[in-house]
Symmetry: C2
Subunit: 186 residues, 2 copies
């Protein structure tokens, strides 16, 4: 950020009075421009004993597999965002959503929120950001070709809960430290 | 938003190619400036049979009661943010946090995430944004002087779970429609 979005003047990166974190502050109109984490909202679409995964048609991680998910938009709920992304990426409609997991990923300032839900009629087809899609049973999940660590963690928890015969709501963090990924649950 | 934060030129509010939502787009360098919901993260500090509430020293809702909570910052986890806000607003340290509820509030593009936790040694004192604070048992909660509908809903769920002898992780929406507040749970 170099310019104030309110008045167009130059901004400085400085700690405002009464604050303890550097912010972009306008040198002219003194507007403080806060920057905050973004929410990624998505779904685990379930059909019979399988779940839907999408092969990414976009960077990053072009060609790898992921759950339907994307940036939550202003003026929507997390569930509305999850349903919208499922429609955009997989033309998938879902019923009976329930919150499955919340993961903080602080090194990229993102929070993932993933809902389980029933894929209506088992129907899906690729959206513009998806190369192809398929329904996978646990034995067929392409574990080495998943797009992001948060997708691995979500699916590991999902099949662990499935084996236990009950689904919980999970929360945790995915931390990158010295190029290692550390996952904590609480 | 009137000016591009990258190059200082005028922005237009328009739907970019391949998108379906109006964004602020720079007329000069074509940067798309996305705006997304913000996360409010906070705690329900528990001590013996009581919980901690803070009387707000700032607008909005100056003088009304709330839980320690505030905007999540970049590069932190939701729990780190919840602990930081508890320290800033109430000099409160907490142990054994677990996610209690997630509420979307789309008319203000916010998502609340509230954790239950044990208030260490029952110690707290007001921070700069807090007029006073106190520990409340259920019978003493100032229901008509709570700062926000999301605080009412969180505390109602909390005491319902407490009476049931077990705490779940809840999620839901708080919708404003024709000046009415509609709460849904899922």
């Amino acid at each position: 950020m170099k310019f104030c979005s309110q008045c167009g003047s130059i901004v400085s990166h400085t700690i405002p009075n009464g604050d303890n974190i550097p912010r972009y502050v306008c040198n002219q109109c003194e507007t403080i421009h806060y920057q905050n984490p973004k929410i990624i909202t998505g779904t685990i679409p379930e059909w019979n004993d399988k779940i839907l995964l999408c092969k990414r048609a976009i960077e990053p991680r072009h060609g790898l597999w992921t759950l339907p998910a994307g940036f939550m938009e202003n003026s929507e709920t997390t569930i509305e965002g999850a349903l919208r992304e499922s429609m955009e990426e997989a033309h998938a409609q879902l019923n009976n959503l329930s919150l499955f997991c919340v993961f903080s990923i602080p090194h990229i300032s993102q929070v993932y929120m993933i809902y389980r839900g029933e894929l209506i009629d088992g129907k899906a087809r690729p959206g513009s950001e998806t190369l192809s899609l398929d329904l996978f049973s646990e034995a067929d999940i392409p574990w080495d070709e998943l797009a992001f660590p948060v997708i691995n963690e979500t699916l590991k928890l999902y099949f662990k809960d499935k084996a236990a015969g009950r689904f919980l709501t999970h929360s945790g963090d995915i931390i990158r430290s010295n190029d290692q990924i550390i996952v904590s649950h609480y």
